[in-house]
Subunit: 101 residues, 2 copies
């Protein structure tokens, strides 16, 4: 088990954590505990959001860069963490995920 896989296991073990996706610098998912279709769907959306966020932050201050993006909704909490070589997405359900229960 490599470092990314270990980190996924650790985060996923926390209560309410539904999905963890790690993508490389090109935005391609390299680790995920979700099925292929959901991984691609989430990755596509979060990558768009991250690109827009970085553009906005750079426009406000060219020396600045977003390191963490936290989107809270009534049902979920999405954490997008950025790094030089990898980004990670953590999908944390506040209530039950769709299709559950």
């Amino acid at each position: 088990m490599n470092e990314a896989e270990k980190a996924i296991k650790r985060i996923q073990a926390q209560k309410g954590v539904e999905g963890v996706i790690v993508v490389n610098a090109e935005g391609i998912p390299i680790e995920s505990n979700l099925d292929h279709q959901r991984t691609l769907h989430y990755t596509y959306n979060f990558q768009q959001l991250l690109t827009r966020t970085q553009r906005v932050m750079k426009d406000l201050d060219p020396q600045n860069e977003a390191t963490l993006l936290d989107v809270q909704t009534e049902k979920t909490n999405i954490l997008i963490s950025t790094g030089k070589e990898k980004h990670s997405y953590v999908i944390h359900w506040v209530t039950q995920p769709p299709g559950f229960g």
Copy 2:
């Protein structure tokens, strides 16, 4: 002093809080403690970010809506809080803001 003004004063009194902007549902700033140019610049950028975020969240779950967006960078922490009639942006500098010190 109305409720929005009171809230701005309260948030602004917290250490490191540089700017507070309240916009109406149309994205027009109605309260701000920043100068006109910076208020418009931040509002334009954060509104774009909020629109994109809502689009992404709706794509993942049409019943879902972002209530809080927290963007952390090395220097700042931007909080975008949404409401039915108003949104607010709080710009919290982790270190010194540009042009200060």
